[in-house]
Symmetry: C2
Subunit: 151 residues, 2 copies
Amino acid sequence: MEIERKFLVRNDDFKAQAVKVRHITQGYLVADGVRTVRIRLCEEEACITVKGKTQAGGFSRHEYEYALPLEDAKEMLSLCLPGYIRKTRYCIPYEGHMWEVDVFEGLHHGLVIAEVELQREDEDVALPDWIDHEVTGDKRYYNSFIAGIQR
Amino acid sequence: MEIERKFLVRNDDFKAQAVKVRHITQGYLVADGVRTVRIRLCEEEACITVKGKTQAGGFSRHEYEYALPLEDAKEMLSLCLPGYIRKTRYCIPYEGHMWEVDVFEGLHHGLVIAEVELQREDEDVALPDWIDHEVTGDKRYYNSFIAGIQR
């Protein structure tokens, strides 16, 4: 079960606090609002992820993720629906949570989204100074929507 | 690369020649004619398979298959598109090739399809007596079409 909250960011201050920076390319074999299958390349690693629908009224969904051979994943990207995502991910630890801030590239240049993964939906999260307002559940900020696949 | 030919069968003689018999349940996360993602449970094993489109004029396509934890696969079946397939697969060695004969159950009861996997498209294959006419490339015999997903 993936439990995740999303936020916009105010400024670039998160970059100086990042403990890890990675380049990600991802595509979708399907993202129809009920089920998502994503192929992700992250530096020299790759994975396939199957996700269910976000539970009504909440921000949890079933997620299944498996490592892939890098060469297979590169080939599988060409089977994906048109509309890849390229982004740089900054990982920032803050008061007991690991924040991931995605800076989108290419067509989506200028878009920056911060995510934090939780153990429980009602878990308290301290927000760093650079966090702006919350966009959890707003489908315009789903990666599959940003990619132009889910409408 | 998967290279496969499909045939209908004349009778049940293949059953007596089978060296392995397995029950299969499978569902599809997507099957839109360009890309297919299949979840398969086969006895106590499970896998996820990503397939591309059959190459024009031939009967080859890219295929990527990975083992899955059985419990994950059972859960993922519930994320699949409506229209599972249940079938019994008989494996029959014949003159250097392994034939797989699928006897469909449930809604598709009565349908029996034999498949043989090849190394090359132009490879010679000896046909067992119980083989009827070839249906390679006829999309009505794609499993995703039988499941009612691809049209």
